[in-house]
Amino acid sequence: MAVTLFAAIVIGSTETEMKIFELSPRRGMKEIDCVSTRINLGVDAYSKGQLAVEKVKELCQVLKEFKTVMEGYKVDAYRICATSALREIRSSLITKDYIEKQTGLSIEILSNSEQRFLDYKSIASESDSFEAIIQSGTAIVDIGGNSMQISVFDNDKLITTQNIRMGKVSTREKFLPLAKNNVHFEKIVMELMEHELNGFAKLYQKDRQIKNLIVVESDLQSLTKKGQENPGPISMISGEQFQKLYQQIVYLNPDEITDKFEISADTAMLVVPSALFCKCLLEKLGAENIWFSSMSMSDGICYDYAVANKFLRPSHNFEEDIIAASRNIAKRYKSNMAHIRNMEELTLQIFDKMRKVHGMNQRHRLLLQISVILHNCGKYISLTNVAECAYNIIMATEIIGLSHSEREVIANVVRFNTLEFCYYDELATFSSVSREDYLVIAKLTAILRVANALDRSHKQKFRDVNITLREDKLILVVDSQEDLALEKGTLAEKTEFFEEVFNVHPVVKQKKKM
């Protein structure tokens, strides 16, 4: 069978890169071309909040050239993702539109959590090494231009992911002018970094043993690869080896690094901040080994595409990561986990049975599940104002793998679980929710409300429920000895909205086993 060609373009803060991949069910994904060029968008974006006209023009020019290359390969599909540089400027949408019109290409501006998720997938696309590493405590550190993302794994599960506002470009820009010399620069950065990491460790690491550090930073990797025979895309060095390397480079000027390690001058500038971060992380987290990945976000984009189009069977379940991360958030806010488990079961059963009626997909099912997991977190702050508090917590918490709009859907679903539903005209006046998202919010809210009503007492009375959809009735047969008066009562209140949305009437039938 013929192969599919896919192009992944990443507009990063220092570099714009395109990779062309060959995809086939038999051989999976294979990189066949990689073109990249340095366009330093980050500097302008982070300090001025906007991009210079020349930079935008340069970017358009490069994208046009990339387009020619894509046409040359006759690629079947492409995806272009822009990261923080385009996300964080004032005129983000205007600039995006301009570039799209100039180049005829469509661009996505990723939220931080989506971006990090793709980076993380890029490592996972090297599935063999990845699965082995994350069996023990592992932190994946993704060093970007403006910030770094730390994700902690244990036992194959994602524990947490946090963003620290220190990136290799921004750190260099901000602190190099303040420093007297290279030694002083090291001291300033170390101080700041330690401060940031102390907070992180206290909150998220606790007594967890983190053995491995996976660093997504291809420039540093090229240094560590020197002298190694056939290094793979992910290569490991021990903590001590890293310390040695660190000593070799940290006091050098970029041109000296260029000379000594034969890397390009642009790269050399950013190697020192990255190395500083790694040293600090290594020491603070107490890791033994440090792995460097040369995979880039474009690998993640292609991996995503390959999985979605069934060229690859994922060895790692990424949805599980998103769910695990959500559960950790719920735990942090002391949610009743037993109640949540029960609710998840119920809501997902209702979702599945109602498929024909609501017509939503797997992704929506995941959003529903997360809504359930997070629906109670507001209680941590206020028992009376649960809905608003939960909404705010969700909007302020990064959940890896979810886009901003997806998070907004979840926050709204949770809010309308108990508060009165706002219809579109009203909702649109104070938020940017799209029509499509609005419909999803309505449908998910309807389901969540019913399920929530059925476990009103939080005593998990509805443990074995059999749900069937019969014409315009959703029949929930409960096998329970308990008194269901409360649940039946609250349900009556909540079914109105469910009926309004789906034109289906939920009915509870109790089957008491003798």
Binding site: I32, D33, C34, V35, E65, G72, E262
Partner: protein, 710 residues
């Protein structure tokens, strides 16, 4: 053990002197009676054009240094002024030898073969005189522009490299008072004319300047011509500094720009018997020192001999032309892509035809599965079929990227024409990288096949020039190795201005990585030798003058590595220095074809490695150019390439060996098999093509196998 300093100046030969030595070896071929007569004419002509180029580029450059008061010594410890002195001395004796060869050996031999070159118009027969005068009036006279100098007319501008006749004239009746006049021998007319054959069938030719001299009084009516003699000048008119020179020189010259004497005459050639008074005028007007004056006993500018070589009717006095043979691998499998998929293919030009390379591009242009063609073009021949095929490919909707190197010496204009034409056809033309000449020779064809993208690569040691491929010995490989394909893609991305790749699989590129690669390969042999393993290097190239590489070779030799160098031209390394270079031998092959391939062999403790590439061991190749070194990986090809080296090392007829006294000598043939490597390869290629063409020997029916499907 105290570290030995391998960079002492006395261990090195000055590159200019070594170059002159090389020109001497070519002159040796002109003097060699074993060569057919007309081939000898050709060799002599080559020494003349070589010397012209040498003056224009190298001597001019040294003169610049002297003017700029640049006194940094070269690797042999010679300052520019000292180099110039030594060059002049050697160049003068070279010229003398050129003309004694011409006068004493070639002219008499030609006469014996029935071709006379009339050296003095006075010797013409009556019929010939009439013919010459008629020719002069009809063809020459209309294009002549005589110019005189007097108080109202300044000394005229004499064009670089043009041949002129200078004369002293005096007004009729005013004896004693003479003026200077000059006329350019027109370059638009052939330099020599064949005269009508004598009744006995003897043929003769006469030079254009002789005809003009004979009729010179027709140019200056009302004047008496006192004397008339040819002269020729060479100017330092090259605006660009030779890339071989150090960057600090460039700065120095920019600083002292005013001191650079534009158009300064650096060489004046005159006829030996030139009138003293006339010479004085020239010397004064051109402001030349006596050292820079070459008085010549014969016609100036011997490059006309190349045209004489092409005279009809003397085929028996020329080496019969060799027809490049078909490539066996491609005779069995005419589909070039299928053949490459089967096995890597080695090409050895001109013994094997260059057609597969042209065909490679041509087929790619038409093949519906081909997506893209990328190629570097350095010196392209006129009406290059490759350029036509690339344009065709672009018209067929392929993505075509061509790197056209505009900085190729002497070829700038030619290259711009091709570049514009390709752009018009829709090719993406890249004009190289700033500050670096792209000298690498690589072609990449990207094909979308059933099972994915497959890349076909041709890598070579010579330019993509179908005319020179018949005269230069070069090697190339065609492969679809994935590792090399990936590298090739990265090369073109880099040449298009994108970031360099994180790492290379197989290829080594100059300017960044290649020097280190060579040094580490040499040092690895040194290690092998130190640890008692057999260690050997064979390297074939055009020139060797990089100090760091030579020092590494000395160190290797001192450690016991056996080093055999086959270097056609400049070699700044010295052999036979006790404890330094006793294990190094250097030989130079000068033959019918110009030795041009670069092949490098490293014994590597038994795990032999062979490389080929576009780079010599010269600073300019390693530091200022984009060059590619590629490994020969296929076991059969490795054997084949090693065989090429072995035969060249066994040559006893055309090889010269460098001796400790810095002279080159022909091989002592006693007790050795007589072998001319170039002839051997010609015969071998013919035999191999015959064997393959014989269907009885090769026809094997191959049963089809079921398509594998996992």
């Amino acid at each position: 053990m105290a570290a030995v300093d391998y960079t002492k100046p006395e261990y090195y030969t000055n590159r200019e002197l070594s170059w002159l030595e090389f020109n001497m070896r070519i002159l040796g071929e002109a003097r060699d009676k074993a060569n057919p007569l007309f081939e000898r004419l050709k060799f002599l002509s080559i020494t003349a054009s070589n010397l012209d180029e040498f003056f224009m580029i190298r001597v001019a450059s040294l003169k610049d240094m002297v003017h700029a008061r640049y006194t940094k010594p070269d690797i042999a410890g010679l300052k520019p002024e000292a180099q110039l002195e030594l060059i002049q001395e050697k160049a003068h004796s070279l010229v003398q030898l050129q003309y004694s060869t011409y006068n004493r050996s070639l002219l008499p031999a030609l006469k014996q073969e029935g071709l006379e070159l009339v050296t003095a118009h006075e010797d013409l027969t009556k019929e010939q005189q009439e013919f010459v005068d008629r020719y002069f009036e009809e063809n020459v006279y209309p294009v002549l522009t005589p110019m005189a100098m007097d108080s109202s007319r300044p000394f005229p501008l004499i064009r670089n490299k043009s041949l002129n006749i200078g004369a002293l004239i005096s007004k009729k009746g005013e004896k004693g008072k003479s003026e200077f006049a000059t006329v350019q021998v027109p370059a638009v007319l052939p330099r020599f004319i064949e005269l009508p054959a004598s009744p006995e069938g003897h043929r003769s030719v006469i030079l254009l300047e002789e005809m003009i001299e004979r009729n010179i009084d027709k140019l200056f009516l009302n004047y008496d011509v006192v004397c008339a003699h040819p002269y020729r000048i060479m100017r330092n008119a090259d605006l660009t500094i030779d890339e071989d020179e150090a960057a600090d020189l460039l700065k120095e010259i920019q600083k002292q720009l005013k001191k650079r004497q534009w158009g300064e005459v650096i060489r004046l050639e005159i006829e030996e018997k030139m009138d003293e008074k006339l010479l004085k005028v020239l010397k004064k007007e051109f402001d030349v020192k006596s050292d820079d004056i070459y008085s010549i006993s014969g016609p100036l500018d011997l490059t006309f001999l190349m045209k004489m070589y092409r005279l009809d009717g003397f085929d028996h006095l020329k080496t019969p032309p060799y027809k490049p043979q078909p490539v066996p691998a491609l005779m069995e499998e005419p589909d070039i892509f299928a053949a490459i998929r089967k096995k890597d293919i080695l090409l050895h030009h001109p013994y094997m035809t260059f057609d597969p390379v042209v065909d490679f591009v041509r087929r790619a242009a038409k093949d519906p599965q081909v997506l893209a063609i990328k190629q570097t073009l350095y010196r392209v021949s006129g009406h290059s079929p490759i350029v036509a095929a690339l344009a065709q490919a672009a018209e067929n909707g392929k993505q075509v990227s061509v790197l056209v190197e505009l900085k190729a010496r002497f070829d700038e204009e030619n290259n711009i024409i091709w570049a514009k034409m390709l752009e018009k056809a829709g090719c993406h033309v890249i004009y190289g990288l700033v500050g670096l000449k792209t000298h690498s020779k690589i072609t990449l064809v990207v094909r979308r096949e059933e099972d994915g993208i497959r890349r076909y690569v041709h890598l070579g040691t010579g330019n993509y020039n179908d005319s020179t491929a018949k005269l230069y010995t070069d090697c190339g490989i065609m492969t679809c190795s994935e590792a090399i394909g990936e590298d090739a893609t990265a090369v073109f991305n880099m040449l298009s201005g994108y970031s360099e790749p994180k790492s290379w699989n197989r290829l080594s590129l100059a300017p960044i990585w290649l020097r280190k690669k060579f040094l580490s390969l040499i040092r690895r042999e040194t290690e092998h030798a130190r640890e008692g393993r057999p260690a050997r290097i064979i390297a074939k190239m055009n020139s060797l003058c990089d100090q760091e590489v030579i020092a590494a070779l000395y160190e290797a030799s001192a450690a016991g590595v056996k080093i055999q160098l086959i270097i056609r031209g400049i070699c700044c390394l010295k052999v036979g220095i006790p404890k330094i270079s006793e294990n190094i031998s250097v030989r130079s092959l000068v033959g019918t074809f110009l030795e041009h391939s670069r092949i490098f062999y490293f014994q590597n403790g038994g795990e032999e490695e062979l490389y080929m590439g576009s780079a010599d061991w010269m600073p300019r190749n390693l530091d200022k150019r984009v060059e590619i070194l590629f490994p020969v990986e296929d076991a059969d090809l490795k054997k084949e390439v090693k065989h090429i080296l072995d035969i060249q090392l066994a040559d006893t007829l055309k090889a010269h060996e460098l001796k400790p006294g810095n002279t080159y000598e022909k091989i002592d043939k006693r007790g050795k098999t007589l072998l001319c490597a170039q002839e051997y390869f010609c015969e071998e290629a013919k035999k191999r093509a015959e064997v393959t063409a014989d269907p009885a020997l090769t026809r094997v029916f191959i049963p089809a196998e079921p398509v594998e499907d996992e």
